[in-house]
């Protein structure tokens, strides 16, 4: 963005040569280009809305008028400078994740998981962490627009009711409502009431990454649609068939919690689960596996059948399984553990595989123990893809005259062959409720800005059916409306506030309303709202359709696998700078998606990283840069969706390629055979870790469970650098000595900590060009190493924050004493004193220091200032920065403790990364208190410190990675 070629950087500020750091857009129009009316209005809208917010904040009017209930403290002690905490929930592709939002003087600035909530248990993920930035995103749609002209809520309501009067005649035969997956009880209640009013109307819900396959699987296996839940804490042996259960689906945080609870070994007697993963693309689940088998996505069906046959599932012929020599041993292991085993298949696998997996689990006896079933949580059953197909056909034949789109972005996400946008044009009345004025809004004459979940009342169910009340932390920044508010207009009611609608609905379900409401809002969950378990039996006529014919393996054509993007999901977060700059797990790419292939395939295609290839799916083709990912299945290529946005906003537009353009309804997950052609063009990709080979060094130490039990000291303690002497006298010990322990056995590289740190510590976004120069600013990074054969390497994650060395090399070389040591062992940066010699960074063996080479922080876009944590300095150009162990949190806790005249309790201080971690891999505390959790962990035999030979005496130490391989299978098969 230095050069300012990509126009979305080119704000008026930068035009004037002033760098514009937090590149999430600014208020200005592109200079030089005359704004068209739409831009101009949007721009004016921004400015007005902006003045509105600032006014709102300056006055005390920003808190919602309705009574909201603080999570921790009663509302009367709203003390400036003392943050308040409120329970709420984030709807994510329909399902809820319970959150605790931190509010400083009416500004939500930080998100963490809600310990009471089943989908969170207090943990969160990168997307939840980044949602606060989404709230303040200046590119959000900010005014109701009627074909581009600013309009009002009332004129929309009027126009809509006109339509509905017309619709009443034919009882809504031409009315269609398109939503995403809906679990909100209130919204479902409203929709159903609407369908009763207009019997001929239809409600379609579509998600680009919906659960059709899973539900289809249960129909095949049990004859009815069910939701499947997994209890990883009960599983001793897990087989993941192309399933990335640690990052996919509405329960992935819970999965991480449960799974990691069986991977952290404290006492040597603890038992540890064993994970087998057969998958095409390397996922973080595969990286955590004790045995990983790279197989193409299409092979999974055969594998599932082979296992099913061996487990004695009826009606499955024993196929030839010589291609999978490991299979018998895995089955034996599964059968050994019987009801403590677990087999899981990924959402991209066809219903047949899911059905087989259910049958296998049934034979193994794990159903009821590690696998349980409930009625579907989603309010709307049926195959989403088919219903969307039906809708497009109806639009084509002109049978649809009123289409209401409640969020979702079908124009962008619908399968290419539906040609959704073309058919959409045939619909006379189209209204769209959305956060952004995006691809879909561009084709609807009515756009209604949707209110962010942090600024509107609502409710949502978790993966297990537990309902949460979504309570807002701030008034809508713009004229945003929530789906339920829009529905109340559709229902012809006098427009109601979301709060009242919500209370109307829940009023019918709580017997002692006020107290139940109070409790539900405060705790963030509705007690006892979880879906009841269903006992299931494999249907008598169990039979799965035959496997699709394997694609002929000619070298120029590959199996093509579609995956959601680990950072921006299906594209809905494309305008979120934090997520865009978050290095994707394993590839460490930022700001772009790429076509992932195995090293051998790269050789065959004679492609290097960044070589642009043409990917043909039938008549449709896209151009994509290649990225080589070790461990990828040979005859397979993986492309992620969500990029190539055109209406995402200034941050999201123009990055990556749009994979939806070749995603067709006949093969929505896996294309059996796509043709690949090298174009000879090259494209530069911004990768934050260009070297993933450990070069024979022992940064990450790995030991098998067996070694650990028999010879625990083989790694770890031997070299913590503690016993090596020092020439210097120690400084006097103080009451507290802060330290951190990071457990590599449970860390799964999910990036939650990185995003949490970015949110907590006001870390700027620098943009693709700067990342390419090696100037990303994350205070904690997740190093990813591959070891062994590139066909199927071992892969290890290592979060690296500042080590807070007791004999810190960085401090000694600072000429102005800008980085010094606190009495409690913190390695502190004094930004005001720093002159920017950068010697400290050169002398830091861990390279955890970050430098503001340019003016990265955004001092221009007022709206983005709102997200800043007031307890953390915003750094300016020319100063060094780095992890502080969240010193602001330490001091806040210390103040509380001193007020109460007591000493700090263990666990009272939780760093941002620790709070976010779904694997409980990070523990922070006082190492002078030998009873503190961190001290106990550091006393484990597998405790070691990075580069101990340098004798820097780091306060951050690691617990060696543990693996639990099956002794009968050689590692790396």
């Amino acid at each position: 963005m230095l050069r300012g070629e990509t126009e979305f950087w080119r704000t008026v500020n930068e035009y004037n040569g002033e760098f514009n750091g937090l590149q999430n857009g600014t208020d200005e129009v592109t200079p030089g280009t005359v704004p068209n009316r739409r831009e101009f209005l949007a721009w004016m809208g921004n400015s007005f809305a902006l003045s509105g917010i600032l006014y709102g904040l300056s006055g005390c009017t920003s808190a919602p008028p309705e009574k909201i209930v603080p999570y921790v403290r009663p509302p009367e002690d709203v003390v400036p400078g003392k943050p308040q905490y409120f329970a709420t929930a984030m709807p994510f592709s329909g399902y809820g994740i319970g959150l605790i939002a931190q509010s400083n003087l009416g500004r939500p600035i930080k998100i963490d998981g809600n310990p009471y909530h089943p989908a969170s248990l207090g943990a969160s993920d990168a997307i939840a962490q980044s949602s606060v930035l989404g709230l303040y995103d200046p590119d959000r749609a900010q005014a109701i627009a009627s074909s581009g002209i600013i309009s009002t809520w009332h004129s929309f309501a009027a126009a809509l009711s006109m339509e509905l009067i017309a619709a009443r005649a034919d009882s809504g035969a031409g009315v269609r409502i398109l939503t995403e997956t809906v679990t909100s009880p209130t919204l479902a209640w409203q929709l159903n009431r609407f369908l009763n009013q207009y019997p001929q109307a239809r409600w379609i819900s579509y998600e680009p990454f919906g659960g059709d396959n899973e539900r289809g699987g249960t129909r095949l296996a049990f004859g009815t649609e069910l939701d499947t839940q997994f209890r990883f804490e009960n599983a001793n042996v897990i087989l993941a068939l192309d399933s990335d259960f640690l990052s996919d689906g509405p329960a992935h945080i819970r999965h991480s919690k449960d799974f990691s609870s069986r991977r952290r070994i404290a006492a040597r007697s603890d038992s540890m689960s064993r994970l087998y993963a057969a998958e095409s693309v390397m996922t973080i689940t595969g990286a955590m596996a004790d045995h990983r088998f790279p197989v193409s996505s299409m092979e999974i069906d055969g594998i599932a059948r082979a296992i099913a046959a061996r487990c004695g599932v009826q009606g499955i012929p024993l196929p030839d399984s010589t291609r999978w020599p490991w299979l018998d041993l895995v089955v034996a292991d599964l059968q050994r553990e019987a009801r403590h085993s677990l087999v899981i298949a990924g959402p991209q696998q066809p219903p047949a595989v899911h059905a087989l997996v259910h049958a296998i689990n049934d034979r193994l006896g794990s159903i009821g123990n590690t696998v349980i079933f409930t009625d579907p949580v989603a309010a709307h059953l049926g195959n989403q893809l088919e219903s969307l197909k039906l809708l497009t056909d109806e639009m084509d034949s002109g049978r649809v005259d009123t289409l209401i789109i409640l969020s979702g972005n079908p124009v962008y996400t619908a399968p290419a062959d539906f040609e959704f946008s073309r058919h959409l044009d045939k619909v006379p009345f189209k209204a769209r409720l959305g956060l952004y004025s995006d691809e879909t809004s561009a084709r609807c004459q009515w756009h209604i800005p949707e209110s962010h979940f942090l600024e509107s009342w609502g409710d949502v169910r978790a993966y297990d059916g537990t309902a949460s009340i979504i309570q807002p932390l701030i008034n809508p920044l713009f004229e945003g409306k929530s789906a339920i508010e829009l529905m109340s207009v559709l229902l012809g009611e006098t427009p109601q506030a979301g709060y009242d609608i919500l209370r109307d609905y829940w009023g019918q379900h709580f017997n002692d309303f006020e107290s139940s409401w109070q409790q539900s809002v405060r705790d963030g969950i509705v007690i006892g709202s979880a879906a009841p378990l269903r006992s299931v039996r494999i249907r008598k006529d169990f039979h799965v359709p035959d496997a699709p014919v394997q694609a002929a393996s000619d070298p120029a054509s590959l199996e093509l696998v579609f995956r959601s993007d680990p950072c921006i999901f299906d594209g809905r977060f494309a305008n979120n700078g934090w997520l865009q700059e978050l290095p994707k797990p394993l590839t460490k790419l930022t700001w772009d998606n790429a076509a992932l292939i195995s090293p051998e395939k790269a050789n065959q295609l004679n492609c290097a990283n960044g070589d642009v290839v043409e990917i043909h799916n039938g008549e449709r083709a896209i151009r994509a840069p290649v990225w080589i990912l070790p461990g990828h299945a040979l005859n397979s290529m993986t492309v992620s969706l969500g990029y190539g946005r055109t209406h995402a906003g200034q941050t999201g537009n123009g990055h990556g390629f749009n994979t939806y353009a070749i995603r067709k309804s006949n093969a929505i997950w896996v294309v059996p055979s796509a043709r690949i052609r090298k174009t000879g063009d090259r494209m530069s990709l911004a990768c934050t870790q260009t070297h993933q080979n450990m070069e024979g060094r022992d940064n990450v130490r790995v030991m098998t469970l067996a070694d650990y039990i028999h010879n625990p000291d083989s790694e770890g303690h031997a070299e913590t650098g503690e016993e090596t002497g020092s020439l210097y006298p120690r400084f006097p010990e103080t009451k507290y000595a802060w330290g951190m322990s990071i457990d590599l056995a449970s860390c799964m590289g999910c990036n939650a900590c990185v995003a949490a740190c970015q949110a907590e510590n006001n870390i700027p976004v620098v943009g693709k060009e700067e990342v390419e120069r090696g100037r990303e600013m994350h205070w904690i990074r997740i190093d990813t190493y591959f070891q062994g054969s590139p066909q199927n390497p071992g892969s290890y994650f290592q979060p690296v924050p500042c080590m807070h060395c007791e004999d810190a090399p960085c401090e000694v070389v600072c000429p102005v004493g800008a980085t010094t040591h606190s009495s409690e062992g913190l390695n502190e940066m004094t930004y005001n004193r720093c002159v920017g010699t950068r010697y400290c960074s050169n002398n830091c063996p861990y390279k955890v220091r970050r430098f503001n080479f340019l003016e990265y922080s955004n001092f221009d876009s007022a709206r983005l200032k709102l997200v800043a944590n007031p307890e953390v300095t915003v750094r300016s150009r020319g100063v060094m920065e780095k992890c502080t162990y969240c010193v602001q949190r330490i001091n806040r806790a210390r103040i509380v403790a001193e007020e109460q005249d007591r000493s700090l309790r263990d666990g009272e201080i939780v760093t941002a990364c620790q709070a976010a971690c779904p694997a409980d891999a990070i523990v922070f505390g006082n190492i002078h208190d030998e009873k503190s959790r961190v001290s106990v962990l550091k006393s484990q035999p597998r405790n070691y410190s990075l580069l101990p030979e340098l004798n820097t005496r780091p306060r951050t130490t690691y617990l060696a990675r543990l693996t639990n391989p099956n002794p009968e299978i050689a590692r790396g098969r």
């Binding site: 020092s726 210097y728 006298p729 120690r730 400084f731 060395c805 007791e806 004999d807 810190a808 090399p809 960085c810 401090e811 000694v812 600072c814 004493g817 010094t820 040591h821 606190s822 009495s823 005496r953």
Partner: protein, 180 residues
């Protein structure tokens, strides 16, 4: 105050040896207030003119001592007394790390004392001086050697001095006025 009258009588020589010889003979005749001017330093000439003790080395030594002590204790004060911080676990008085600066300051102050001391002792800068009143004196910075017997010498008598100098094989004798 501007003095007037005769400053001294100056003789010009072509070769350094002649100058040295001349200086010796006039000193034997008891003249004391005189100075010689040459385009480059001539061994022993200063001694001939009665210059004995050179104080400059002492000044430079003093400078060195000041620099060394000042340098070290400034650092000691800064790191131990004024701003005692824990820097990478190193002791406050990390004296080995203070040596380079101490050394540099020793050199710096000594060098300054050397140059300033030299100028001060020589009474420089002094742009105007009676000897410059003689046009021929320009050659003192080229290829001529001058001896000037000053009028403040108790035994100074214009005519006798003139005669004395004439005997010394000069290539010219001039009267130097205080004021031209």
């Amino acid at each position: 105050m501007i003095r007037t009258g005769l400053y001294g009588i100056m003789a010009e020589f072509k070769r350094p040896e002649d100058l040295v010889a001349a200086v010796r003979s006039v000193r034997e005749r008891g003249y004391r207030f005189m100075d010689a001017y040459t385009p480059f330093p001539i061994q022993g000439l200063a001694e001939e003119l009665g210059f004995r003790f050179n104080v400059l080395p002492v000044i430079v030594l003093a400078g060195g001592v000041v620099g060394a002590l000042g340098g070290f204790f400034m650092q000691y004060y800064a790191s131990v007394v004024a701003l005692p911080l824990n820097i990478g676990g190193r002791p406050h008085n990390s004296w080995p790390a203070f040596i380079p600066v101490t050394f540099e300051l020793t050199i710096l102050v000594a060098a300054l004392f050397a140059v300033l001391g030299m100028l001060a002792l020589n009474g420089l800068p002094r742009p105007n001086h009676p000897v410059f009143n003689e046009p021929r004196f320009e050659l003192a910075s080229r290829n001529r050697f001058f001896l000037c017997i000053e009028s403040r010498d108790p035994r100074f008598r214009r005519d006798t001095v003139w005669k004395e100098l004439e005997k010394l094989g000069t290539s010219g004798i001039y009267e130097i006025e205080y004021k031209r």
